[in-house]
Assembly symmetry: C2
Homo-oligomer: 258 residues x 2
Amino acid sequence: MKRAENEAMTVGEVARLANVSVRTLHHYDEFGLLSPSERSEAGYRLYTPGDLERLHAVLAYRELGLELGAIQELLSDQAADPVEHLKRQEAVLNARLEKLLAVRRSLRKQMEAVHMGINLNPKELLEVFGDEDPTKHAKEAEERWGDTDAYRESQRRTKGYTKEDWLRISKESEAIEAGFAELLAEGVAPTDQRAMEAAEAHRRHISRCYYECGYDIHRGLAEMYLADPRFTAHYEQRAEGLAAFVSAAIIANAEARG
Amino acid sequence: MKRAENEAMTVGEVARLANVSVRTLHHYDEFGLLSPSERSEAGYRLYTPGDLERLHAVLAYRELGLELGAIQELLSDQAADPVEHLKRQEAVLNARLEKLLAVRRSLRKQMEAVHMGINLNPKELLEVFGDEDPTKHAKEAEERWGDTDAYRESQRRTKGYTKEDWLRISKESEAIEAGFAELLAEGVAPTDQRAMEAAEAHRRHISRCYYECGYDIHRGLAEMYLADPRFTAHYEQRAEGLAAFVSAAIIANAEARG
DNA sequence: CTTGACCCTCACGTAACGTGAGGCTCTAGG
DNA sequence: CCTAGAGCCTCACGTTACGTGAGGGTCAAG
């Protein structure tokens, strides 16, 4: 057992986990996109958790149709912190989603046309494919992204966060959580007006600082706070029952306003 | 001007229209997937409207990630009428959409984790990519589709439409349209209860026979009936003002129930 | 009758792996 | 201890869906 203290995984294990082929991992290694940080004495590739994280980013970008070279550039971009990557990924993904939705609209229009015995002319149907696929050939990806609404939107919110900004954001979330904890301590019900206001503040905070968070998405977060022990723990370590309280408040708020 | 009566288009024109490269069209020709039905005396490829229709189907399937060989099989499948193709495309597309939405959920979870200072373990993040991409390697596509919820759902509705079924469906839409026309003739307002019931019947008819049609999608159809002259004409030829009436009734119904 | 925009047919290049070939390495069982 | 089988290694050529010229006709305009 030359494997680093049970930490590292072999190619096969990683491949199964990420549902990619071993060859793919070899390829990424060869390409220099993802080289395992360790090797066993026998020369076996050993992937650390850190490597897995990188792999995750790679796969996320790949899923969005970026070329390996472009992915490499993005991942080696020093100026980009993890949140930046996540935002980029979401921006590209949103563009991709919009495209697919457009295709679906076109499909439904065709079905409706058949339904009504109408002949659509092929030219107009082809137009759906006309708007450039924003994920293809993503050289100068930065520029391209500037072209998508989603990215502009995302950028508009995050334009040049400075250290002070981050400090302020972190203080804000602190204040919001503290607010929840206080209400809980006072014995206020999560369906109370004040709890719902706290939930709304939480939602708006996310929307301002991270991503557009509608009521349905917010509801999803509420569920996760209870379903995922790590998120639960985050709240529980401040006060017992806080996770459930926050979750309930968010849901009540979503019901009321969403 | 050897071009067949102004009907056919050259590669370049088609390429621009469909936003693909000329080479791509050459490739499809060479591959036998889409050979223009005509050639000019000089040997220029000339695409007829029929060819454009086929190209549209090809691009739709391609957009969904199918391989050219698979697309060819599908398009040469005699047993499949146009509606069948559209349904297949929608089924695959829905699977693709679900996948992307899953990735987006994962991204948001990560952002939320950063937001809360939590460390997600890479293994679980990789799991998002774990569920097979239903569009990849679409040999025996039929079988694979049988694996996606969307397709089962779609199939469940359409299982073995016979000629009588089609006749019944066509009679149903006839009846629905006649119902609208009658209400219009009686001078009933589109916001009237009876008009909204007709709209609801229309929506349910589509849902039963074609695809899941929610209120928002239905609203989209209503807009299209006014925006696209061919759809407008379809209703107007039955009665003047019918297109606007149907459209208004659908919207009223969606507002009320959606 | 030339010029520029298109078109043709080869034909080789590329990206992201797939698919063996030939050969170590590791762990469980006899 | 030894062997089988599953897993790993490094070449290295194959594949898909085009990209990218090369070399050479075609066509409408001036």
